[in-house]
Structures are given as C-alpha cells and as structure tokens.
Symmetry: C2
Subunit: 285 residues, 2 copies
C-alpha cells in the first residue's frame, strides 16, 4: 500500500529524519508548497527555479528536478492521476546529516522530503466577499542574507500565527521593525490604488513567493502596473483594495482588518484568472 | 547493545524524527549542549532552568527534568558512569508533530531528542596561548521576541561558520546590523579593561549562554566587576583582553583577531577555575 503514504524521504517510504539532520538541528534547509493536479505540479518551472535559488542562497546543491518528480510520482496512485485529483505537496530540502557544531560537512548529501496533504477547502465567502486579516505584533527581523528565501527558520511565522485563534481570520500581516508592511504569515501582499499594484520590497526580510512574482509578471494583462515599494499600515488602510497571494489559493481580496472594511471588487477574481495558466510540468508521466 | 546508540528520541532508541515534526518543518524548538561526567550533567540546574525558559519563550511546555535525566541515563553504560567518562550531550526539545501550516496544534506532544557525542579535545596552545577568532560578515538580525533564546533557527550561525575554513581559527565574532559585537557563532564574548569585564547586552539578538551567566554571577570571586553593555569592534580591539565562553570549554582568552595580538594573561585560567564548581545533578542514579 505504498501510495497511501503521505510522505517520502530520499525516495523511500521507509526512511524517517535522522536526529543528526541539519534541517532538524538548525533549520538548515528550504521548502516549497505547491498544488498537484492529476499528478502534475502547478507552476513547476517557477517552483523548481525558486527551490534551486533558495538552496543556492544557503549553499546547498539542490537535487535534480528529475529526482524530485520521481519522488512526487510515488505519492500518487494511477487512479488519483487520472481522476483529476488535487492535493498539496510540500518539498523540503536540507543540507543532510552533520556532526555536532555549525560547520557544514565537507561532503554533503542533501535530504529531500515530500509531504502530501489534502487540498484545503475555502469558504465561498472568501471568493465572493474577501477575507479578514489580523495585524501581527511579532515583527520580522531584517536579515539581508536570507531575505526572500523560503528557508526552514520560521519561528517568526510560528509566533505570529499564535496571535489569533479566530478561524474566520485567514492570515495576519507582519511588519518589520520599522513598522513597514512586509507580508502575511503565509502569503504575500499587494495594495491597489487606481491601476497600480504595490507590493513591499523584500530586500531585507520576507519570503518572495512565486505567486507574488507571477502577479508582478502578469498584471499588465489586466491593465495594471506593479510597483515594488515599501509602505506602512496607514497607506494600506488608505488603499482602494488589498490583495493577498500564495500558491494554494492564488489571490484573495481583503474584506476587513480591524475596523476597516473594503468594498468588494473584481480584482482578486481577475488576478486568479490570469494566474490560471499554471505552467504544468510538461513531461508525460 | 542499547548503549552504543548515540541518540535517543522520546525515550526510545527505535524512534526517528517524523517529517511532520515542527522542529524539522520550522525550527520550532530549542536546544542545549552540556558536558556529562560520570553520567552526570554539569550545571544541570542552570541548563534545565534555561531549557524551561527558552521553551516558554516560544510557548512550549518543557518535558520534566526527571524524563530528560531518565533519557540521559540510557545513553551511558554503567562502565562509562563509573570510569569517569566525559561526553557531550545535546538536548533538543521541539513542539512535536503538526499539520501543514504555521498554526500550532491545539494539543501538542513536545519531542525530546538527546544526542551523545565525544568530548572534543582542544590543542594545549588554546590554554597556554589563547585562540584565534575570525570576524564574520554574516550579521545577526535583531528580533527582540527571540533574543537570548537558544532556539533551532540557526541559519545565521551556519552561514557565519561557513566564512572560514582554517582549522586554527576556533570561532568567529558576529555583529548585529548596527555593527555592535554580539557573540561568537558558538560562544559568548567578554572584553576586559582593568578589573571590569564587559559583555554585550542580548536584548535584541544573540544567545544568552549559561556560562556567560555564570561568569556574570561569579566574576566577583576573582575581584572583577561585570558590565552588560554594547560595544563595537574598535572597543574590542582596544581592550586589555578578550575572553570567549561556552559550556564545553568554559573560557578561553583570545590570542589574535586579524592583525591584532594580545599578550597572554591568567584571566581565562582564573575564570575556568571559578567555573569549576559545576553544580552537578545531585540525584543518585
């Protein structure tokens, strides 16, 4: 019953994580989360390119795309692949095992872990009315060497996510120590004024998601220009609309933050539409 | 042959780490490293107190001391305990397994991992002449919510430690983004001027080690006063002496950094002497 497993470690269903793995010891690794439809990862070229870049940022040699796709295939049955099944897969790459101490081993064997979970279902109201956000008190620290990278040091996101329990609040906005808006705990953020989208610079902190990049690249298709520029909460509250993006839901408009409410527009639906070209892995497997 | 194992997970030699463990996924946990002599952890009260405090900082309920000591016992044979054996044990506590996403599970089962390694041997020259340090370019980010905590988000230390390969360089000094000296990658740091030791404030970043705290508490025994105050590299270079401390070697004087050299004093030896009262776990096991 191989295919009922929900994770695969270095290509095997029998492996677990070594306590000596540096991903476990130090968060010495990176990850990505993506939708798999019919056994095919959505936006695979973008995800793999980002995985390679994030590995390079911390000097890990990323395993080949072929190896990761081969792992991925094993997580799905032929039935799932043919029946239009949708799931979420998280890929984690670490530097692998090491001795005690921070020094990386001379020869590394990066570890790869793929974890399959159900596709989350979102209330219809998220699409029709928008979503509610919390404003997090947990700041994001400025670390230029790791800015933009989706690495495994995510305690800030964990602490920020603990700040609210209301299940109707989808996410929380995180600010840097200068009170500038950076992102949400699990999403990037855009404000819209007229026909201009603005998203924060992530040169000092934050995760540069691939959906953020796709919005930057594709917004012109619906007549919008995109600026990458820092802004604070007062500018966000004054915006015509606020949008959050990630690889799972694409884009949602924000309905309310604290006492502020925004009128619903077609913006998030328009963005989801241009994001629909998902750039599936073209290989036939 | 249970006792040849080098690690124990949740009290068992048969467990490994789940890929769903939040320590692995997010670095959502804390750790400590200590010397074990005759099966007894040195400075156990201080280590356990710090472990509880660090767990509390990220809202993990620390496993009981009894449970951790019971795990520890299993790592050592009766022969090792009676033959004055010395080893290093690292204790890792994580929030345990969780679902996908940053939200912590409603009911958590913290994971405990103890890893036993050989006691490192240091060249005699480290004691007689002092040690050489590198100055790291990797900055430490300011994050007041996690400052002082020995958590598992250690990518900064990993990147900093990659900056030098010379085996004669013991450690590297890390600065914050304001160019203030904070610590070394695996040690705290003190400068000495006259009869005053100064060690950086760790209110914004860095790890507040228990040996640092013991030096702060005990320095009066050798006629020194201790100030906790930020300083920059020029003040460090102008100091009479520089000392680094951790739980494994206690204290070393710094011999050289770049082109600067310091004359050897008895300071590190005096500090190692007052640190000798190791506050062993008193229980008889």
């Amino acid at each position: 019953m191989l295919h009922t497993q929900t994770y695969i470690v270095n290509g095997s269903f029998d492996y677990a994580i070594s306590p000596l793995d540096r991903g476990f010891a130090y968060g010495d690794g990176v990850f990505r989360t993506m939708i798999i439809r019919n056994g095919l990862p959505e936006c695979w070229p973008q995800h793999y390119q980002k995985l390679v870049a994030d590995c390079a940022a911390i000097k890990i040699v990323c395993p080949s795309a072929e190896l990761l796709i081969s792992d991925l295939q094993q997580l799905f049955t032929q039935q799932e692949i043919t029946e239009n099944a949708v799931a979420v897969v998280k890929i984690i790459i670490t530097r692998g095992e090491g001795e005690r101490g921070y020094a990386a081993p001379a020869i590394t064997n990066p570890l790869r872990v793929l974890i399959k979970t159900d596709m989350p279902t979102y209330p219809n109201s998220y699409f029709s009315d928008g979503v509610d956000l919390h404003i997090c008190k947990t700041p994001i620290a400025a670390q230029p060497l790791l800015a933009g990278v989706k690495h495994l040091n995510r305690l800030e996101n964990v602490l920020a996510r603990m700040e609210w329990a209301d299940p109707n609040t989808l996410d929380g906005i995180m600010l840097d120590c200068e009170q500038q808006v950076i992102e949400c705990t699990s999403a990037n953020i855009f404000i819209c004024n007229g026909d201009t989208l603005t998203t924060p610079s992530l040169n000092l902190c934050g995760i540069a998601g691939i959906t953020r990049q796709r919005v930057i690249d594709l917004a012109h298709l619906i007549g919008l220009t995109v600026k990458i520029e820092s802004f604070k909460l007062d500018q966000l509250f004054a915006a015509d609309a606020v949008i959050i993006t990630n690889s799972i839901y694409g884009a949602f408009q924000v309905k309310s933050i604290q006492h502020k409410r925004w009128a619903m527009t077609s913006l998030a639906a328009d963005l989801r539409e241009i994001l629909k070209e998902k750039f599936y892995l073209k290989e036939n497997f």
